[in-house]
Symmetry: C2
Subunit: 479 residues, 2 copies
């Protein structure tokens, strides 16, 4: 029998770690805060990459690759940037058997080194917009780490674009945020609030940062993607200029935007249950497992052969329909063991097929999230699986959205904010002062997540200070 | 006009660097020996990855991801391994604002850190074979670097497998070498010699190393992929054991195999010409560029509209056939400028279409490698392009193979070896002694490339010492 997971009720964090390790998604390593992504976990990343990369390319973005190491002096060129990232840097001081004249840092993000190239490549407005992305590993030395959600090294994509005007940059910043929203909602089935971050929560070196914020099953927020309007900060630091249509030299306007393997953590925390992983069908590597049943032990050989023949024929039909299919005909394991194992690893639909089913030209289907048996005529099996997967994708999104909506509250006093601190997204008035924000965080553990575009902004009074507020913002505990 | 490249005759190395920079494949960076891979170059890597990844998966290999940093002590566990890689390591001594207790090295390859996980994951023969691959960046501090061919940081894939028996490991080593051969010949159109490396040229820590060796246009060899039978060396160093079918504990037998962005250098050096890049169609991102002609300046607007309509209709048809198509209708550039630009960046087929062509329901096609005009009826255009691409793929391979065969010689004396040192692949007898091999290298600059499987092994006398030889081996100057 597959070992049971700690139930969520008993310990949400233990359940999360248990699930990741038992479903073989990732493992700890001896390298501080770094994980090993195992094939079951990496397959999710490959699907995330495949979909997202296509979405980027449809937006005219091309991929490139910049060095892992950044000369330390580069980071210092943009004052806010170095201040933000300095405490988290891993530093290479020796290489090739010698002490380096200037140390290198392992990229925590690549705005600086990319701007060094931009400043060489860009001459004229004809070179703009320049729309690049890279899929890469980055490193931020974190004190407290958590598998997928916060690791010292992580895999991500970072987009970097250059524009003629501030408007173009702002437009691109929001376009890419919308790509993230679409990806999160339509593929991950994870509802998100797109909105603007506060000054104290923005990216070090940006003019404005936007994010998409999701709610996990424990009602904590997860920032699942960010898009930054960098203004001309890095362009000025690296002298990235172009000759404009007016014949004059101008600094380019830039954006950057990123999402990471953290998304896998978000996917787990949004949908999974005490039996294991649940994967939205659009990102699943294995959509269907077919398990032959009732042919163990003393079952007649002829019956066994008939069942296996049908099982493989069905698998072939499902594959032809473009689905990821596994046939689990390992005779050393019981069907029950296999059910548990595939529930643990998140196969979307399980099909059971035995002699009794075959006699009725039927099979049993079980949707991973519902875990209820359904009898389906064999000649409708492919259509039924497709319909099930479509419905599952929709249901997962609806369930997550209903959950979020049920745990989103308007709160109107500091007492209420404090009392509801663990209850989800709290929409509260705040005076816009970073000091107030810091005090609220200190006293309640709540941080501002974002000012969602969907939240109508009406004036009010700050829950902490009573000072005027322009509109409510989302407070929540967060990963 | 696009700037002309240094012709190969005038300076092969200058031509190579010129091409890479002017075709915007890659650029130098300020980080010692590291390059920036620009979108035109990265698109080649994406296509290489896509094809190769599919080939690996068809062989049952799954992708995973292991940490970038390796504790220094890990490398020291396998004596030959640390000796081989020590001089090339980049070392992280500080992180998170503190000096580290134990330094980390940036992975030069991942056998050690992967074995740490293998030793945890593998318990029984039921866990074998374990077939993993990772796509990653690695770092080897090189003294002399060259864009794509030898860079301090490079992108690669490294496969790592574990087996029950020595036979299984040897079989897998050769299977993956054959995958590399197939990829090189069928996709890159680059003929290679698969064979075994000598003891002194094998991977640090391996039992046996095999490689595929290609000949570049300057008659130098390029090692384009290696596959290692690691025996039990790393398994013993990391205690990677399994309970065998006999109930006893055994160390696993392992392989590792890798190929890298160096392949892009090989692709350039095999096929390209003085006009620029030539890409085998199977790896090209852009198969066809359509350039409207004869509609500049005073051409009637109606004619112009007709031509552009047909150009876009043809582009749509070609895209429907699965081809990468660009329409270059930029009116600020002359057709001649565009011809040069697309020859430089390696678009496989150019189509010119103007009012005169339209009147004859025809168009002009030019295959990148031949650079000869051909008149093609418009209604045959799609079929013709497909046939052209197929033929181009075949012709590129044949041309490269003929070139290699014409520059491969049996040599029977040291004088001859020395005289022909720059002439290509030299098949010579060698006594198998590493000291002799080193002397030959010192006196001629020639290294042993591999003992090709295709080369019949017959006894003879070493060209250097006159001592007995088991058979000829390939000597060549090499990248």
């Amino acid at each position: 029998m597959a070992e049971k997971l700690t139930p969520r009720e008993k310990g949400f964090s233990e359940w999360y770690v248990d699930l990741i390790q038992k479903a073989k998604l990732a493992d700890y390593s001896d390298v501080k805060g770094c994980m090993v992504i195992r094939p079951n976990g990496y397959a999710l990343w490959e699907n995330i990459q495949r979909v997202m990369d296509k979405m980027f390319k449809d937006e005219g973005v091309r991929n490139a690759y910049f060095p892992l190491l950044i000369p330390e002096s580069y980071l210092k060129k943009e004052a806010e940037h170095v201040e933000g990232f300095n405490p988290q840097l891993a530093i290479v001081t020796h290489a090739g058997g010698q002490k380096l004249e200037e140390p290198y840092v392992i990229r925590p993000t690549s705005e600086t080194i990319i701007n060094r190239s931009f400043s060489k490549w860009i001459q004229s407005y004809r070179d703009l917009p320049l729309l690049l992305n890279q899929w890469a590993n980055v490193m931020r030395w974190e004190m407290r780490t958590r598998l997928f959600l916060r690791t010292t090294e992580f895999l991500w994509q970072e987009g970097h674009t250059c524009h003629e005007t501030e408007e173009d940059a702002e437009k691109r910043t929001l376009t890419m945020l919308e790509v993230y929203r679409t990806f999160a909602e339509d593929y991950m089935a994870m509802p998100v609030l797109p909105g603007r971050k506060t000054e104290s929560e923005k990216f070090a070196g940006a003019l404005r940062t936007y994010s998409i914020e999701a709610m996990m099953q424990d009602k904590k927020a997860l920032q699942a993607g960010t898009s930054h309007n960098l203004g001309q900060n890095f362009a000025k630091a690296f002298d990235t200029q172009f000759q404009g249509r007016d014949g004059q030299q101008h600094h380019v306007w830039q954006t950057s935007w990123g999402s990471s393997t953290r998304l896998i953590g978000g996917l787990i925390l949004t949908h999974s249950d005490d039996a294991g992983l649940i994967v939205p069908p659009k990102l699943a590597a294995t959509h269907v497992v077919i398990i032959p049943v009732g042919i163990g032990g003393k079952a007649p050989e002829a019956e066994k052969a008939q069942v296996l023949e049908k099982v493989h024929a069905l698998a072939a039909d499902l594959r032809k329909a473009g689905l990821g299919v596994v046939v689990d005909d390992d005779e050393t394991k019981t069907p029950g063991f296999k059910y548990n194992e595939h529930e643990l690893t998140g196969t979307c639909v399980r099909i059971e097929l035995g002699p009794k089913d075959l006699a009725k030209s039927s099979c049993v289907m079980v949707r991973r999230d519902l875990r209820q048996k359904e009898f389906v005529p064999l000649d409708e099996a492919v259509t039924k699986v497709q319909a099930m997967l479509d419905q599952m994708q929709k249901d997962l999104f609806k369930k997550a959205k209903d959950f979020r909506d049920a745990h989103t509250f308007e709160v109107n006093s500091f007492e209420e904010l404090k009392a509801k601190a663990d209850d989800g997204f709290l929409l509260a008035h705040w005076d816009g002062d970073a000091k107030t924000e810091a005090r609220i965080k200190e006293e309640t553990g709540l941080t501002t997540r974002c000012r969602p575009f969907s939240l109508k902004q009406e004036p009010g009074k700050c829950v902490m200070t009573g000072n005027p507020s322009q509109g409510r913002i989302v407070f929540s505990k967060a990963y």
